[in-house]
């Protein structure tokens, strides 16, 4: 991921230049909309309104169509994301082995609800349906690292340390 776009209202020109290498490969291609959005989000960390407009322009689709598709899928974000993303797996196996309690505690520790990002952009907390590590349930994914039950002590220490920073 490149430098995340920290704030709303970035200048369109600047954004257009930054996204040009991606947009040029998809120009006029309707079928490539989802991979295009994935790449744009990979670059920016989220999908600001200005970026969606640029995508619509490049593909020749209406903005409504672009937003319609983007908002259908859970992996596209319309708000800036935190520097660290904590995802609590709430799949079946994690659910019956205590995921709801972990989520509750994380919400308390971080002061944000699932699906929210802290105001200082330090953390994003969200739930994920299943990461396919059910045998290690309950698991929490921090950035791209999967933490199993035994590692949760480390998780709390880590969270506390990051909060102080």
């Amino acid at each position: 991921m490149g430098e995340p776009v920290p704030e709303r209202g970035v200048r369109t020109e600047e954004l257009a230049n930054r996204l040009e290498p991606i947009l040029s490969r998809y120009r006029g291609q309707e079928g490539g909309l989802i991979p295009l959005l994935q790449e744009v989000q990979g670059e920016l960390g989220w999908l600001p309104e200005e970026a969606l407009k640029l995508v619509a322009e490049a593909t020749g689709l209406t903005l409504a169509r672009v937003v319609g598709v983007a908002s259908f899928y859970a992996q596209f974000y319309f708000e800036p994301r935190g520097r660290h993303v904590i995802r609590v797996c709430t799949g079946t196996a994690c659910h019956i082995r205590g995921a709801p309690k972990i989520l509750e505690r994380l919400e308390e520790e971080l002061g944000i609800r699932a699906g929210e990002t802290a105001a200082d952009l330090s953390f994003t907390l969200e739930t994920v349906n299943c990461v396919g590590c059910c045998a290690l349930a309950p698991v929490v994914v921090v950035d791209e690292r999967v933490l199993k039950r035994r590692d949760h002590k480390k998780l709390w220490e880590w969270v506390r340390k990051r909060r102080v920073e």
């Binding site: 309707e30 079928g31 490539g32 909309l33 989802i34 991979p35 959005l37 994935q38 319609g68 598709v69 259908f72 899928y73 859970a74 992996q75 596209f76 709430t90 799949g91 079946t92 196996a93 659910h95 019956i96 082995r97 994920v128 349906n129 299943c130 990461v131 396919g132 590590c133 059910c134 045998a135 290690l136 349930a137 698991v139 791209e144 690292r145 999967v146 933490l147 199993k148 590692d151």
Partner: protein
């Protein structure tokens, strides 16, 4: 290196087999073992082997199955299998096993009576398994095509392209009795033949790796651990269907490692001339592209998945026309599950009769399950169709962790809960349907007495309700209404009429929804209503959750007129909320968590419950 003919492939294989086999240490690097620290173990082995200057090959593999006890390490030449290995154990393993040829006892599996078992195949967790789809998973390095070729990989493709007509391939798959492994169990050969018969071209082929069921990770393990078997199966399918220039593998967004391994495998297959233009010099061409999902459960449904590839909202459409007539971009399309494709090469190379010899009359072959929940051994298992749930849970799963096993949930949010007294039901497509569940994709979650079946059913419904795409009314509104009722029941505010209403709504949603998501969404509720009705009644009539999971926000108090001072309520209370005073027993509302145990044990009905009044 490009293979120009089937002969070239055989020559390469012979050459690879002639290479002296160095003793191999295979460290499982599936997502499960990775989370347990497998990568550190792998590099510790590399360091240690180098330090001693040993002639040992250290390599990684895909999922070896027993995720619970990872990281797993197989020292193959010595047939020794280690569990829960940490980097600190590595010097001892190298010293004992690789240098002196002795197993390191403390890291072996031990039977309950304390006997160490060095050989993987003799461990109860593995003994009853029959590995067909997972034949190479954990036994080859998924990032090296030569490993796959060495164990016979791509020989089925060579045979198909040089010795068989497309019709013969379909005939062989038909005789094998292969049914789709995505859950519904549609006969694979019939799907291929129907698409082959279409006039319109080009046709498309899709591998469905959008494994969205919570509690399932079979497809992920196959894609991560043995991607070439899926690719080989797809090329064979493309040849059998005909006029298929291109195929797609649709992988769920949450599986980054699977995408990485697939990318490597596709690149290698193309380099070796096993994919792309003029495969093995036969003139047959077929390309494969990876499509990453973007996080929508409903995209596991075939028509929705196709819209998603087209760059649209992934909403299912009405069928017919079926996908084999009008699928991707309006062209005839075959969509099969990851495990279906992975089964194809082994059917071709070992023959339909061999495959049909495994399993039952109506369900041939094996099924891969993600065995999770409240059993001792969790992980990825592959068993012949027709095995009983009891064998799966007790023999392979090793029975309960503590307490008593109450039920299994099979088939994810579209499946059902099967109670303990039906554990002798054979696991195959048709038997499961009879008891109200379904094979689904193969998630198998074991539940014990600490799990509330009402809360579990509500959990699954909340999942499907949230993932409903909203296109058809029965699913959009119906699941929402069912969920509101379930919310009421778990909060202890249910009414007895609610049960009938749930059944009525459930039947309607099943009959009238547009796609499989809606048609199966009521299953968890309907099966629990059928087999665990007494738990629903306890929640409604007694405002009590027998498993102690659901809390009812409300106010409990003891009526002194009825109280006989037996003290059972005080004994039952785990929160110390029931106090004994001179005036009798009373409940401290500050300590009461609303579990309702006191009310359930009271012999005279003296514990009164008042619902919380909304302000």
């Amino acid at each position: 290196m490009r293979l120009e003919s089937a002969r070239d492939l055989e020559d390469l294989r012979e050459e690879l087999l002639r290479e002296p086999r160095r003793p191999t240490v295979r460290v499982c690097c599936g997502t499960g073992c990775r989370a347990a620290g497998a990568e550190e173990v792998l590099s510790a082995f590399e360091r240690e082997v180098e330090r001693h200057g040993l002639d040992v090959e250290v390599t990684s593999s895909g999922c070896q199955g027993w995720c619970e006890r990872g990281p797993l390490v197989a020292a193959e030449a010595r047939q020794v299998f280690y569990l829960s290995v940490s980097p600190h154990d590595v010097p001892a393993i190298v010293d004992h096993t690789l240098r002196r040829g002795r197993p390191l006892e403390r890291l072996l599996y031990h039977t309950p009576s304390g006997e160490p078992v060095p050989n993987r195949e003799e461990i109860p967790f593995y003994r009853k398994q029959v590995r067909v789809v997972l034949r190479n998973c954990g036994r080859v390095n998924p990032t090296d095509i030569r490993d796959y070729i060495r164990v016979g990989g791509y020989s089925a493709l060579a045979k198909v392209l040089t010795q068989m007509s497309p019709e013969q391939v379909i005939e062989e798959v038909e005789r094998a009795g292969l049914r789709g492994r995505g859950g519904a169990g549609f006969p694979t050969a019939r799907k291929w033949a129907a698409c082959r018969a279409q006039q319109e071209t080009p046709k498309y082929l899709i591998c469905n790796g959008d494994e969205g069921d919570p509690g399932a990770f079979m497809d992920r393990s196959v894609l991560e651990g043995d991607p070439h078997s899926v690719i080989e199966g797809m090329v064979i399918a493309a040849y059998a269907i005909g006029d298929v220039p291109e195929g797609y593998i649709y992988v769920r967004a949450e599986y980054p490692l699977a995408v990485r391994h697939l990318e490597i495998a596709l690149r290698q297959a193309e380099e070796y001339g096993l994919l792309g233009e003029d495969i093995l010099g036969t003139g047959f061409s077929f390309r494969i592209e990876i499509k990453r999902g973007a996080g929508a459960f409903v995209c596991g449904e075939s028509t929705a998945l196709m819209y998603s590839i087209e760059g649209k909202r992934g909403m299912p459409r009405q069928t017919p026309p079926r996908s084999v007539e009008r699928g991707l971009w309006g062209k005839p399309t075959v969509l099969n599950n990851v495990k279906t494709f992975a089964s194809v090469p082994v059917i071709i190379s070992r023959g339909a009769d061999w495959f049909a010899g495994i399993g039952t009359e109506g369900s041939k072959g094996t099924q891969v399950f993600a065995l999770t929940g409240k059993v001792q051994n969790t992980g990825l298992v592959e068993v012949p169709m027709g095995i009983t749930i009891r064998e799966l849970v007790y023999d392979i799963g090793g029975g309960p962790r503590e307490g008593r096993i109450k039920a299994v949930q099979i088939g994810g949010p579209s499946g059902g809960c099967i109670p303990e007294h039906l554990f002798d039901v054979p696991v195959d497509f048709d038997s499961l349907q009879e008891v109200g569940a379904m094979m689904g994709s193969g998630g198998l979650v074991v539940m014990d007495e600490a799990d509330c079946m009402v809360a579990i059913a509500r959990y699954f419904l909340s999942f499907t309700q949230a993932e409903s795409c909203g296109k058809c009314t029965p699913c959009r509104v119906g699941t929402y209404r069912m969920l509101r009722i379930m919310d009421r029941i778990v909060e202890g505010k249910g009414r007895i009429e609610d049960l009938e209403e749930l059944e009525r709504l459930g039947r309607w949603i099943k009959e009238t929804s547009l796609c499989g998501l809606g048609r199966s969404a009521p299953n968890p509720i309907l099966t629990t209503l059928r087999y665990f009705r007494e738990e629903y009644l306890a929640h409604i009539e007694d405002r009590y959750c027998p498993a102690g999971v659901c809390r009812s926000p409300g106010h409990y108090r003891i009526n002194p007129e009825e109280c006989i001072w037996c003290g059972l309520c005080a004994e039952a209370c785990e929160d110390g909320a029931v106090r004994r005073t001179r005036q009798g027993f009373s409940i401290d509302p500050r300590l009461c968590t609303g579990c309702g145990r006191c009310r359930a044990v009271c012999p005279t009905g003296a514990v009164l419950f008042t619902e919380e009044v909304a302000v």
